[in-house]
């Protein structure tokens, strides 16, 4: 060991304390930069994906409701009723098939927009329906032949996630 120190003093080839500290600071800085980059990238990626999914769910819900209502071209076949599952307002579309009335219920349950197709006056449970899209709010109302529907997605989302749909029910009259 003495020999090494002697040699370092002689050749002046050693590493000074300042150099060691400088290198350690640089390594620390680089480590911090890489860590910050990885953490912020993963956060941003997660946010972008969540936002995309939220927009996609809202688009599916809006398009589905619009199509369903436009498809029912019989006069006075669309109503707003409270569903028996959670008592919230739902859209009910009545269709007559083979001299029998069938109802399509579009309602919100467990933050999921669902559809159930049942015989009129038949009792229905949540497991008789299928999922359409994941949304947080679904408020339908009818005013002067215009159906107004408010849907909203993930409330924690960055962008405004409310959509206000209006559908003219008079144009459905055959």
């Amino acid at each position: 060991m003495e020999g090494i120190v002697e040699l370092m003093k002689k050749n002046n080839k050693g590493v000074s304390k300042v150099e060691v500290i400088l290198v350690m600071i640089l390594i620390l800085l680089m480590g911090l930069a890489v860590f910050t980059l990885v953490v912020s990238s993963s956060d941003t990626y997660k946010n972008v994906i969540d936002e995309k999914e939220n927009l996609s769910n809202l688009r599916i819900a809006a398009s589905y409701i619009d199509n369903k209502i436009k498809q029912s071209d019989e006069q006075s076949s669309i109503y707003i009723k409270n569903n028996p599952i959670n008592g919230e307002a739902s859209i009910v579309i009545v269709q007559r098939v083979d001299n029998e009335n069938y109802e399509t219920w579009i309602y919100l349950s467990d933050k999921m927009l669902k559809e159930a197709y049942i015989k009129q006056n038949q009792e229905f449970a949540d497991d008789m329906s299928f999922d359409i899209a994941s949304i947080e709010e679904f408020v339908p109302s009818i005013k002067d032949d215009i159906m107004e529907i408010t849907i909203s997605g993930n409330k924690a989302s960055d962008t405004f996630s409310k959509r206000y749909l209006k559908i003219n029910l008079k144009s459905n009259e055959g």
Binding site: E2, G3, I4, E6, L7, M8, N11, K13, G14, L22, V23, L26, I27, L29, M30, A33, V34, L37, S41, T44, Y45, V48, E51, K52, L55, L58, R59, A62, D66, K143, D144, D145, I146, T159, F160, K162, R163, Y164, L165, K166, I167, N168, K170, S171
Partner: protein, 173 residues
């Protein structure tokens, strides 16, 4: 002992300053590309948001008009209520905020502008109805993040509808 000391000095296991500077350079270079990817993704999400809302708002306006709603302060529709007539022709403008809901027409920094153009094709004096070509277009006023192009058309919807001839008076202030 001297030989051993020389061997220790010649053996370099650590990073040199150059190596660390190059590493930092590579990390910075990668972070710039990553940032660019995320900015593009954010802007694309915003384009999707604009288009989704523009389609819904335009369709809602068209549905309200076909249901007999007037354009102007007498309207029950919040968008048509805030429409202001631009000229003698039947061109109406509505300023919209970030949430695609109408803002005050005097508000300068609106996010979107909606133009509703009505063009009379055929009128019937007996039924007081007229066939109109209706055009609804929405333009984005605010800039996308780190982009310089402005006033980009988001969506345009055209349709022919039979409307009541009394479609509302001059609503300009």
């Amino acid at each position: 002992m001297k030989d051993r000391g020389e061997a220790v000095l010649n053996k370099r296991n650590g990073f040199t300053l150059i190596e660390i500077i190059i590493s930092i350079g590579i990390v910075s270079f990668l972070s710039v590309y990553l940032l660019q990817i995320f900015i593009t993704a954010k802007n694309l999400n915003e384009v999707t948001y604009d288009l989704d809302n523009a389609v819904i708002v335009s369709k809602s306006v068209m549905e309200s008009l076909s249901a007999g709603e007037k354009i102007g302060p007498d309207s029950d529709d919040i968008i048509l209520k805030n429409a202001r007539k631009l000229s003698d022709e039947l061109i109406y403008t509505v300023k919209l905020g970030d949430d695609f809901q109408p803002v005050d027409s005097d508000f300068v920094d609106s996010s979107y502008i909606m133009n509703i153009t009505l063009d009379l094709v055929d009128s019937s004096e007996l039924s007081n109805m007229g066939l109109y070509n209706i055009s609804v277009d929405i333009h984005r006023e605010k800039l996308y993040f780190l982009k310089s192009s402005q006033n980009k058309e988001v969506y345009a919807l055209n349709a022919s509808k039979g409307l009541l001839l009394d479609i509302g008076g001059d609503t300009s202030d």
